[in-house]
Symmetry: D3
């Protein structure tokens, strides 16, 4: 078997995290998983949603969108269709849950951080790239709160990262690109934290059911890939942004 | 540890499938997982969505809703709010994908079957009950197509069933009810077919990340529970409806 | 002339009221007018809409919906179409006005009771069944307020019930089922209270105008039918629910 | 008892019908019931809605709106709120049904006539004025079809007119203005044709239930008022528009 | 060249302003630019939008609509389509900005005036007629505030009026009617105040780009036309309304 | 007077056009006017909108959006609010009209080109940057049609570019950034083609009316600025994209 990209089964695409990508947001990261490119911005607001008022804790939420021509064929703009599709809502709920797992919400104080993940070029794995890049944007926004004295110390408890795994032509592979994703028998997105805990596992049989053995093989690949992604996140955060 | 219901960790709630629950639909099943009650109707239409026209195959899709007072507190009616929420869309996409895994769409011919799952009383596990009951309604609707001569033989390849598992007070448990679900550390929904293949696995850390060991324990419980649910499905289908 | 069901012109269908049909709502009634089945739940909220704040009175309102396959052909789900149709809005406004006529709103205190009427199987007369069953659910919810000490005594002043009458093949008939309703020359819905007062009269010529004589004949049938329905309501409320 | 306007109980307001009020529509009538003013335009389209295609018949439908400041307090514009309210939908359904009773739809051919009723000043009775004026606009539009040779002869079978009646301070009165309407115990809208047949009767107890005697008194007033309105319609149509 | 209407290039259509056209609004004007007729009502509310609260100033805003058959072919009603089109929003934003230029918002106090411009008959120039008539309605509403003592003196600083100019068959013309507007090479809307200052200039090349010389010629025509319109406004306001 | 950026009154910001910015679209340009950054993609579809079918011509249209945190404060996402705001619709209509002026629609054949302009960082002038960059993306998409043989020769007749001018602290200035734009007395957007013809002129008095002299000064600045922008466009198109 050979992957369309020539990668080895356990090989991630080139992953790149560019901090301070745009100038207004408290955290702003361009994340690239190969040809997949997502702008993740983290915006701070000094208030919380109604359901949390007076509880002395903060909130982290996410929104997701794709530029109409981020894909091979132009998609209708959701703003002009008048609603977000089910796939969009599902993905942004996943991103939000995943990023909340990186934060001690009580330690965040009554602040809300909204992470917007906007795909400017799609080539498979936009949700995993969004989580991985969004967590770095979130860390920068939290750091902004610390530096401005809004909170005493960082409420980030762990980094959170995500990768896809799947069965492609019968072989378990890591970090599927679009050529693989659209032909995979099974697709699974895994979210873990930097301490090795599982946050989310979402596996879907696309063509045929998958066996428990395949499941275990995919899990092993995911654990390995996420460990590498966390290293990339930590290196990016260690650098002093220009 | 004791479960609020007094059940053993590996014990399902009482599961009941009532076929021909309402009179108009080609398939109509009331599914009960304990106090959770969902009406599943399968409706046949002799056409396919635009994206499948002329491809000589059929389609299976699902919609999901909750009566406003199916829950402890009344929820706003989605029809009057003017849109379906993200949770609703996510669940009906899951039900649709799961039920398509039960059918050979080419053998279905150019027919569409829509499975509506409407929760009349909620007590945890509405999506797993919907899949389990919806598959029986689907089987009845397909049988209607065979009996009326619309298609030659049944395109059902397997039964599909679903159950939730979770970690409640540190212990892996099967088929969580609301009292457990709202306090579980981890919640996982598993969809499998009657041949033991995995269709979907969706695990979410609600409070703390889960370990691989916990994951494996939950998977084992789910396999056992689904095998039992498939038996209940087959018994229901074996009966001649009154 | 013979009615499709074989009933006499002045004969109601079998009417059945099952209290405590679902477990969460303060009032929950399954109402059956023959094959027409509607779940009516009454939900109590300790507040009033904005336009009544500070006026020291309560409010009763209603919402109406049909499950997509409650009818012979599947209807699109209003939640997914993004709005409630004109027929739905018209019916729920009628139910709300009718039920408010059963209650002394000042004596209700600053509480709102929302009566949801969801049709699970339709065979003509869903709005009249909704009013008749909804009034029993309302009575149960009010009783809950009395028993929990929220209000001193019941603000129910009368029972309210409703039935349809029409001209079918030239003959005035009571309580039309779908086979009659879809072929009637005239259709009239009448709402009355248990003291014999009129709450609403809505008569519509479907095919040809109706004469004053036909009008009077239909009114006479309706009065008789509603008197019987009130008896069924009172018997149901007299029973101690299991 | 004296009516706020000083009218006798059985007295209509000054009724005025101005044909050709605007220049583009095939039928265009300004109808005035006292201070209530509604522009009714009838627009012809040479096609029918999807559900009537190929059935060789026509269709008549209506839409209703109020200018935001046609009322004492400015109402939010429905176009900017993004939906028509329940009252609007209810009224335009009533107008459409009523006007269809004036026409032999088979004789109309495959044409659709849309009657738009837009209230520019409201003082009670906007729906009855809309029906009464809309029928004249409809007659003009039909005449246009005859004159242009689109159809051979007029499919108008009867004129249709409407008036409100009510119980105000205990006295049955005809054609309620806003000062009466907002304080009436009972309000009833009656639609009849020029042959004395009933098209619609919609009576609502606003404060207290009404008795059968009151009902009969209101009906008698309505019959008398509608007979007068039909005369005004016929006089207007007899004039050669300037 | 001859204009379809026979007017000279620099000739306005007959302009008519009828104050107190409807009875409820604080300001109500029917404005006619030839066959174009717009009802402009100005409604006063004793509060300001959220973004101005506590700033001690008022607000002026506008909404625009067309009756469905104000035009040659019936247009779908925006309320029933569920949203206002881009053209509508663009026009009402222009009207609002223009009218705010007539008022010292600080001197208006914390009051909001909403000017509704509803086109009952369209023949080109509906937005310019709306601004010109709307300003008179605004002046009447402000006068109402002064007379009722809500504010001490009028915050109106200038009258504001508007006219269109264009290039029709190569010739610059003033105040285009529909026959010209739909065939003009260039169309420009100009808004000025009574002191000769420019408020808005919006020129659009419809078929071919326009030259600077054409631009200057159109500007000169517009200045002349607006000066005349301001005279008509002042005459209308000088009359004591009946 | 000094501009916040230190630029001379007649000085453009640094303008940069990066072709082939994303990989899927037939034309894809990142346009930068200083800190304002917009991704413009041009997508080709081999069909035309309904209103042009069978007329043997093509169509060019545009859509505009801003990422939620492209601005100093996060804006609500239009897709999640369920509609595009008036400003968005107004801008995308302007972009579409402007770009159609660059193309001979008959020579385009029955193809539609949609230009999406998505602002990733805003600092004033997003609409002028969108037009200027969008025209280059349009040229690339048209070139793609020529190279693939879909059309014989390029239907581009002229380049179209746009710039803003305004009065800032009493001085006419070119190409306003946000610091100027939010404090300008007058703001004018001018669209011209490479032959010196005017396509659109939209001037708005923000604080005080502007005089004819100021108007002429702004026009002169705009002509000069657009001539420079056209040079930048032509240089970008002359380069062989990497």
């Amino acid at each position: 078997m050979s992957r369309p990209s020539g990668r080895r089964p356990e090989q991630l695409r080139a992953v790149k995290l560019t901090r301070n990508y745009t100038k207004h947001a408290e955290g702003s990261v361009l994340v690239e998983f190969g040809e997949t490119k997502v702008i993740c911005t983290a915006s701070v607001e000094n208030s919380v949603p109604r359901f949390l008022r007076g509880k002395g804790q903060g909130w982290v939420t996410a929104e997701y969108g794709m530029l109409p021509r981020s894909t091979g064929e132009r998609m209708a703009r959701e703003a002009s269709r008048g609603k977000q599709g089910g796939r969009t809502l599902e993905i942004q709920r996943l991103i939000g849950r995943s990023l909340r797992a990186a934060v001690d919400l009580a330690a965040l104080g009554e602040n809300t951080i909204t992470v917007d993940c906007d795909v400017i070029q799609a080539d498979g794995g936009t949700r995993t790239a969004s989580i991985t890049g969004g967590c770095v944007a979130l860390a920068d926004a939290v750091q902004h709160l610390v530096e401005t004295g809004a909170i005493k110390q960082s409420p980030i408890t762990n980094m959170v990262a995500s990768v896809s795994v799947g069965i492609f032509k019968g072989v378990p592979v890591l970090d599927l690109d679009y050529a693989e994703d659209s032909n995979a028998e099974t697709d699974m997105n895994v979210v873990m934290n930097s301490a090795g805990g599982f946050i989310e596992v979402q596996g879907t049989a696309e063509e045929a059911p998958f066996s428990e053995e395949e499941f275990q093989q995919m899990l092993a690949l995911a654990k390995r890939g996420i460990a590498d992604l966390v290293k990339v996140q930590k290196m990016a955060l260690a650098q002093t942004p220009s």
